[in-house]
């Protein structure tokens, strides 16, 4: 929250732009946090975001209902994530390989479905400036998916730290064997977490296509799903820290867009690199202190350091 205050002290307009840009990533980041807490890395997040984005855009374009689109995106992301669950939980395949398979499939399927969407326009969510939030400085420039993502941050924190399923998934993430002894069905817990992550990454993709960009383009997530996998580690597997982590990307993207429109002489293509450079530098800086997997659930450490 202090990061939000810092941004809004710079300029309320910039803070809103950073939050809007961070939102698709934040959804995926929260989902992947829960997945990694259960000891699984899912690079397929990128593909799940893409099918979520395509499904949401198609449904919104055909029915005119962005809420229906959002739900469709969630379902599509969830459905694709089940492939990852099948391959790496049921078949115990390599998690990185399985994630890449899911990514490729998601890229292909979304490109296939979305081929007809290129150039179409949709009507997204009505702006909040028309509602009672219209008088609140930063909030009036936000959209419903941004506000919902704040709720999702709190929801995920409560889920992970304060509920029975949360305890179960953390136990499984530490040690599948010990969790089994305690009577947990570890595989189902992990599969459930992957499906939950699928829903959230699908919503993230939907937020990107029907809310943030309001267009469809092949591969439009441009690595946001992969950045999310890295930023989970930056956020120390804590849903509350996911918001500032996502803002790192969002603020750099907002900054690069703002510099472009301000007519800076730096090439826009160099500015496009900014969010990725920021994410990479912060990722490296966090890992450098004690290694990528220090502080990670033990089961995850085996994956990341193995």
């Amino acid at each position: 929250v202090s990061a939000v205050e810092l941004l809004s002290s710079v300029s309320p307009g910039f803070a809103a732009a950073a939050l809007r840009s961070a939102t698709p990533l934040l959804w995926a980041l929260l989902g992947e946090t829960v997945v990694q807490r259960a000891g699984i890395v899912n690079l397929g997040t990128e593909g799940q975001m893409l099918v979520g984005a395509a499904a949401a855009f198609g449904i919104t374009a055909h029915t005119g209902g962005p809420w229906l689109g959002l739900a469709g995106g969630a379902l599509a992301g969830c459905a694709l994530s089940l492939v990852h669950a099948l391959l790496c939980v049921r078949y115990r395949g390599n998690q990185f390989a399985s994630g890449l398979a899911v990514w490729l499939m998601g890229f292909g399927i979304s490109g296939y479905v979305g081929a007809g969407f290129v150039g179409q326009s949709i009507e997204g969510f009505p702006p909040l400036s028309g509602s009672w939030l219209g008088r609140v400085p930063v909030a009036r420039d936000l959209t419903p998916t941004v506000l919902l993502s704040f709720a999702a941050v709190v929801f995920c924190w409560v889920l992970v730290y304060r509920t029975r399923p949360g305890l179960a998934l953390r136990a499984v993430g530490e040690s599948v064997a010990a969790a089994r002894i305690a009577g947990l069905r570890a595989s189902w817990v992990q599969a459930g977490c992957i499906a939950f992550g699928g829903i959230l990454s699908g919503v993230g993709g939907a937020a990107l296509s029907i809310d943030y960009a309001q267009t469809w383009a092949e591969g439009m997530t441009k690595g946001r799903g992969l950045v999310a996998v890295g930023l989970v580690i930056v956020a120390r597997w804590n849903p509350l820290l996911a918001l500032p982590a996502a803002l790192l990307f969002g603020a750099s993207e907002a900054l690069s867009l703002r510099l472009q429109s301000a007519g800076v002489t730096v090439s826009q293509h160099l500015l496009h690199m900014l969010p990725y450079v920021t994410s990479l530098v912060v990722f490296v800086a966090i890992c450098t202190r004690r290694g990528t997997a220090s502080g990670a659930p033990a089961g995850l450490r085996a994956v990341l350091d193995g």
Partner: protein, 343 residues
């Protein structure tokens, strides 16, 4: 026994893939048999199709090395894509800096320049892993987004050909800086470099100190430390060697396939290379047949665009399905193997 299990696994993968691809074709309302026919036609059905498959195989086999070499020491690199672009940048820089001074040394120097760029970018990931203990898989995935954007910057900006009428690309490479093509096809030197590098790597893995060191590090980091091996040096070296191969792929794509550097040249070969390295399961020589298979799949996907009017993304669906089927099949092989051991 190992070979027999490998064959069973392969048969499983193929059977699963045919089933999965059939389901996909049915789901999009196409009859599977004509689709498979078009795929075979477009990949191996004629001399031309075969040559196009080989053209696609060259960057894929080189990029497969970029994953397979670090994998010898137990590292999971997905960095070939970024290293390919790095090689295309440094190779093109060499061409643009040479002015008019082209001669017989141009080609070797061009390849060295491309290899150096890929190697440096690979070594960066290796250094991050070796020195700072940064997970190499996630680091390489993030690094993959930087070099393609930098290529965009160059071809839209300082390296843009002023006479290209707005098309973002460099000037055409002079003939002296183009890799030779053979047999009146587009099959070029890159393919032969890829095949030879795989053979060299396979021999070196068996005979050199680095080859054994990598195997020891993979088998047991503690043992290798006691044997006085520097894990760090091996990591950086393997990453750099793999990156050099991917860099050659990058400059070859720019030099001969496109004849200039432009946005997105060779894109996708890095990930296809990862798939090939995964399918090969640590056997370097198997990179060759699997690179051919994945290249054939890519060419087949292109033909589906022509024949059935499917969008280009169908290639990624097929690659993803093949990947998933291989994972499922290798798990079956493992489970039956465990049962065999316990009996």
């Amino acid at each position: 026994m190992d070979d027999r299990r490998g064959c069973v696994k392969l048969a499983h993968t193929v059977a699963l893939f045919v089933a999965a691809a059939s389901l996909f074709f049915l789901a999009i309302g196409k009859a599977p048999i004509p689709m498979f026919h078009a795929m075979l036609d477009g990949s191996v059905g004629s001399g031309f199709a075969l040559s196009e498959t080989l053209v696609k195989a060259s960057p894929i086999v080189l990029c497969a090395l970029a994953t397979a070499l670090p994998a010898m020491a137990g590292l999971v690199s997905v960095g070939a894509e970024g290293q390919l672009f790095a090689g295309s940048i440094t190779g093109t820089a060499f061409v643009l800096c040479s002015g008019d001074g082209f001669g017989p040394a141009t080609l070797p120097l061009l390849l060295i320049a491309g290899a150096a760029g890929g190697a440096a970018y690979g070594a960066l990931a290796g250094l991050l892993r070796a020195r700072l203990r940064v997970n190499e898989t996630l680091a390489t995935l993030l690094l993959n987004y930087l070099t393609p954007l930098f290529v965009d910057y160059l071809v839209y900006g300082p390296w843009k050909d002023p006479n290209s009428l707005g098309w973002p690309s460099t000037v055409s490479f002079p003939d002296a800086a183009r890799l030779p093509s053979y047999f009146d096809t587009r099959v070029h030197l890159g393919l032969f470099l890829g095949v030879s590098l795989v053979l060299v790597a396979a021999a070196a893995a068996k005979r050199t100190r680095l080859g054994l060191a990598a195997q020891l590090i993979k088998a047991s980091p503690t043992l290798s430390e006691r044997a006085g091996l520097s894990q760090r040096k091996a990591f950086v070296l393997l990453f750099a060697l793999g990156g050099a191969a991917a860099g050659i792929a990058g400059i070859a794509e720019a030099s001969v396939v496109e004849g200039r550097l432009q946005s997105g040249v060779g894109a996708g070969a890095g990930y296809a290379g990862f798939l090939v390295a995964f399918l090969s399961g640590g056997h370097l020589l198997r990179l060759l047949p699997f690179a051919f298979v994945v290249a054939a799949l890519t060419a087949a996907g292109d033909n589906l665009q022509l024949v059935a009017g499917l969008p280009s993304s169908v290639v990624f669906v097929l690659e993803g399905l093949l990947f998933a089927c291989a994972l499922a099949a290798s798990s079956r092989a493992r489970h039956s193997g465990q049962q065999g051991d316990s009996m």
